[in-house]
């Protein structure tokens, strides 16, 4: 799986269900275990919120134009404080020529709600995707003077449109990955996308063929250390709807039954993660990115965030329950072989990210909220391994206007382990102290973590689930 797919998978995971609730991703589709007291089956759900899907409609869309932001460091909005005065350039998001709009109505607790999602990927193979290109000059970016940062990345693959009281807010703010996300310095989505038109349309209007949503504008902006011009020529034309359909329940007697054990945890996270960033020693790699000579740190501090998660395990139904419990550290029996599962914990709190990157006379410093965390749990071989996922793979726009690497190149930022039997206690603490090293185009990064996760067991469920033929548990 490549980086783009991993990005999408995490986005899909974030949009779907809490991890550990039996949800898993398969590309952009979510396969969800329907709730049941003692057994479950699978139903196909297309990125809808929880509940049963009442209707699902897709229609092609055509997208014209592009979004270009031309910017320079702006003293009036504080470029000196952030060390952004030396940067100027432009960043352009070019959407694909076509895509799909999906309208899903779901019903839960006697209430029907709608969700609208745009998938911005054209036909053909390889598919046409949106791309962001940045060209940024730094006036004193290297010992020899000016440096140029060139970067491009696939962005805006999915666009979540908020629906409130039957009105759909048609803006670009819910794009994932973020539209103005690149390794060069520059304004990001929060500073720019809020300045674009975001017309509110009724769901009825979205269901009309030929509706054109005009997102064009040409206006100055000044925010958070940068000023310049926003030039959007983007217009989205809605095509003829495909036949509305209700997802077919793929429950089948031909599937394979597995025993599922889910242990729900409450999570508390506290500590810090220090990233040491340097420009690559290879001039060929750092030169075109303008990253030669960059040194600095990013410190992410989590004072005491709380969250939840679950350890979910699958095994053959012939395995006794007490041995399955042993696989989760909840029994003294011998853990069985052949247990699999995907488990994670997430947390949210008042964390901060402080970036200090220097290059020549440019010293970029920024502080921003960094509220979310996401870690994978792996219970196997008699121990629990915990891996902190890169922050770039988590929902939300990038937090810094400084130049720098993207974390998503890392498979993990921090890790730790403890004996599986420790999970037999109701509450257990685990310190992530093992760092990671990775490269991201013209940058090298080394992490130095000191993050404590406290897992408190709140519930344990066991049941039998049926996977359709051809699918295996994660």
């Amino acid at each position: 799986m490549n980086r783009l797919l991993s990005r999408l998978a995490v986005v899909a995971l974030a949009l779907a269900l809490p991890a550990g609730a039996g949800a898993r991703t398969a590309g952009a589709q979510t396969v969800e275990v329907s709730t049941g007291s003692s057994s479950g089956s699978f139903a196909g759900v297309f990125l809808g919120p929880g509940g049963s899907v009442v209707s699902e409609q897709s229609r092609p869309i055509q997208i014209d134009g592009a979004l270009t932001v031309t910017f320079h460091g702006d003293a009036a909005t504080g470029c000196a404080a952030d060390g952004l005065c030396g940067y100027s350039g432009s960043v352009t998001w070019r959407p694909p020529a076509s895509g799909q709009m999906i309208i899903v109505a779901t019903r839960a607790h006697h209430h029907t709600s709608d969700s609208v999602e745009l998938f911005l990927e054209g036909n053909g193979f390889p598919p046409d995707t949106g791309a962001t290109s940045a060209t940024v000059q730094s006036t004193a970016g290297s010992p020899s003077g000016a440096a140029t940062c060139l970067d491009a990345t696939a962005t805006g693959l999915a666009l979540d449109l908020p629906v409130r009281h039957g009105l759909v807010e048609f803006g670009l703010g819910g794009a994932s990955p973020a539209l103005l996300s690149d390794r060069c310095a520059g304004p990001r989505d929060p500073q720019i996308l809020s300045q674009l038109p975001a017309p509110s349309l009724t769901l009825a209007a979205l269901r009309r063929d030929g509706t054109v949503v005009d997102l064009s504008t040409n206006r100055p902006f000044a925010a958070d250390g940068f000023a310049g011009t926003i030039d959007s020529t983007i217009a989205i034309r809605l095509g003829r709807a495909n036949r509305a359909n209700r997802p077919v329940n793929v429950t089948s007697n031909q599937g394979t039954r597995y025993a599922e054990l889910t242990v729900d945890y409450r999570v508390r996270a506290s500590g810090s993660l220090l990233e040491h960033v340097t420009g690559s020693a290879n001039p060929a790699a750092c030169g075109p990115l303008g990253a030669c000579g960059v040194t600095g740190t990013e410190t992410i501090t989590t004072p005491g965030a709380t969250g939840s998660g679950a350890l979910t395990l699958f095994a053959r139904t012939t395995i006794p329950r007490r041995r399955l419990l042993a696989a989760a550290g909840l029994s003294g029996a011998r853990p069985p072989r052949g247990v699999t599962g995907t488990s994670s914990v997430t947390w949210d709190g008042d964390g901060t990210s402080q970036i200090a990157l220097g290059q020549g006379a440019n010293q970029c410093r920024q502080a921003a909220p960094a509220s979310r965390g996401y870690a994978l749990l792996d219970a196997s071989h008699g121990r629990l391994d915990v891996s902190l996922l890169p922050f770039d793979q988590q929902p939300g726009p990038p937090i810094s206007e400084c130049p720098g690497p993207e974390d998503e190149a890392a498979t993990t930022l921090a890790s730790g382990e403890l004996p599986l039997r420790a999970l037999g206690r109701r509450s257990v603490s685990l310190v992530l102290r093992t760092g990671a090293s990775f490269t991201d185009d013209g940058y090298s990064v080394r992490t130095d973590p000191d993050l404590t996760l406290t897992l408190t067991r709140v519930a344990t469920h066991a049941r039998t689930v049926t996977f359709p033929a051809g699918l295996t548990p994660p």
Binding site: M1, N2, R3, L4, L5, S6, A66, T68, T70, S90, T92, R94, A97, G122, N123, G124, F125, P126, P127, D128, A131, S133, A134, T135, A146, T148, L150, D151, A152, T153, A154, D231, Q254, T256, Y258, N282, A284, A285, G287, P288, L289, F314, A315, R316, R337, G338, V339, T340, T411, T439, D440, D441, G442, F467, P468, A469, G470, L471, T472, P473
Partner: protein, 436 residues
């Protein structure tokens, strides 16, 4: 990134020995780490001045991750859908004249082979080749010759790190690899899910029948004419990221061709027919006409001239294989010449080492059809045939716009015509299937 691949243990391209418990169900985990940087600079000693490419320096930066192999023995998949080409062109005084940045998704396979007593990783096949994209730099064909030093690590893994360099037209190309391929084999956990059961097996029924077929083999004597593409950068700001603002250029494609094209057709008939009748039936449109270029060879030379706003003119010639495919109907056959990933795979047929539009700009997201032409079945049988192919029209891509014009003519000489009927078995299934 870890990718778990369930497979019968055997030999993977990156080093699973066949002796590793052959026949047992195992999980093969391939972890690919480390960057791959391909950097290039215009070299006066290699003629960059004549090409207008001195002062060009750039790189393609890849962070390949993961690999997936459905069956043993497959080569290592090296893919990075977020790879980026970055190119800067500087004046002799060092000032930046233009910049170009282009996403270049890469998806290729590498196999490790022993050559002259040393292990090296070679590019086997490139679905999305490494290249400089639409920026100045080496083409996909140039970088297909890349090979990496390889050392075995442990039983199954490889260290593909190291440096290598080579020349590509006017460029010096330097490759820096930090790639490590870690291969681990472990017992499968829950095993492979059962394959969904097929629908209730059909009881196959056969019927004997006669198949009428006819074929005209034509030798390719040559191909004349040329295909031209005029282009210019689109208006600012969309042209900026590729450094295409104010650039104008033209591409001229000329072709060489040799070999034989077979025009054929077949249908089920009730009674035995002679050769002359079968050939006449094909000419009369009573069979679907198809062509077969399997024993032909068509190559294109694409010449580009690009005038850049700073007064520098870039010129280059790129050669690539051209593929042919047919869209046959009763009585007519449309032949298409093309290439690139939207066709049958391969290199971009409109790219040279100068900056310029890609096939996606010129032909859109569909197949890159350089030219197409229609042959009427009624013309088959003539001793000499000419077939005119063209694909004129305008285009507007993400950074370049322009138009295509011109045509090429295939000159063909009949070398064989044959036809008749032969007994076959028809399987009653859906769709109807003929087995000889």
């Amino acid at each position: 990134m870890l990718v778990a691949v369930s497979a019968l243990t055997g030999s993977l391209g990156v080093g699973l020995p066949p002796a590793a418990a052959a026949g047992t169900r195992r999980t093969v985990t391939v972890e690919l780490t480390g960057p791959l940087t391909v950097a290039w600079t215009g070299d006066p000693a290699r003629g960059c001045a004549a090409a207008g490419l001195c002062g060009v320096s750039g790189d393609l930066e890849m962070l390949p991750s993961g690999a997936e192999s459905g069956s043993p023995g497959e080569p290592l998949d090296l893919a990075d859908s977020t790879a980026v080409a970055r190119v800067i062109q500087r004046a002799p005084d060092g000032a930046v004249q233009s910049t170009c940045v282009d996403p270049v998704p890469v998806d290729l396979s590498i196999s490790v082979r022993r050559v002259a007593g040393r292990l090296r990783g070679f590019v086997d096949d490139a679905f999305q080749p490494m290249s400089s994209g639409r920026c100045a730099g080496p083409t996909g064909a140039d970088l297909a010759t890349l090979s990496l030093p390889a050392r075995r690590v442990g039983a199954h893994s490889y260290d593909l790190s190291g440096q290598t360099s080579f020349g590509a037209g006017p460029f010096d190309v330097a490759v820096t690899s930090g790639i490590q391929a870690h291969v681990r084999i472990s017992r499968g956990s829950l095993g492979v899910a059962p394959i969904p059961p097929l629908p209730r097996p059909l009881k196959l029924r056969f019927r004997r029948a006669l198949r009428e077929s006819a074929v005209f083999d034509y030798r390719i004597d040559g191909i004349s004419g040329s295909l031209g593409t005029s282009f210019a950068g689109v208006a600012a700001p969309l042209c900026q990221s590729l450094g295409a603002c104010g650039a104008t250029g033209r591409l001229t494609g000329t072709f060489t061709a040799s070999g034989v094209i077979a025009f054929s057709g077949s249908r089920t008939v009730e009674r035995r027919l002679g050769s002359a009748v079968a050939l006449a039936d094909l000419r009369a449109g009573r069979m679907i006409l198809e062509d077969n270029f399997a024993v032909s060879h068509i190559a294109e030379s694409e010449t580009e001239t690009l005038d850049q706003p700073d007064g520098v003119t870039c010129t280059d010639i790129a050669r690539s294989m051209v593929l042919a495919q047919s869209n046959g109907r009763r009585g007519t056959d449309e032949l298409q010449l093309g290439g690139g990933s939207g066709f049958f795979g391969g290199d971009d047929v409109v790219r040279t080492r100068c900056p310029g539009p890609s096939s996606q700009d010129v032909f859109g997201n569909g197949p890159s059809v350089l030219a197409r032409g229609t042959l009427s079945a009624a013309r088959l049988g003539r001793p000499q045939l000419t077939l005119t192919l063209s694909n004129a029209g305008g285009f507007t891509g993400s950074a370049y716009q322009g138009d295509r014009r011109g045509s090429v003519v295939l000159h063909l000489t009949l070398v064989r015509a044959s036809g008749g009927t032969r007994p076959v078995k028809i399987v009653f299934a859906t769709p109807e299937t003929v087995v000889s």
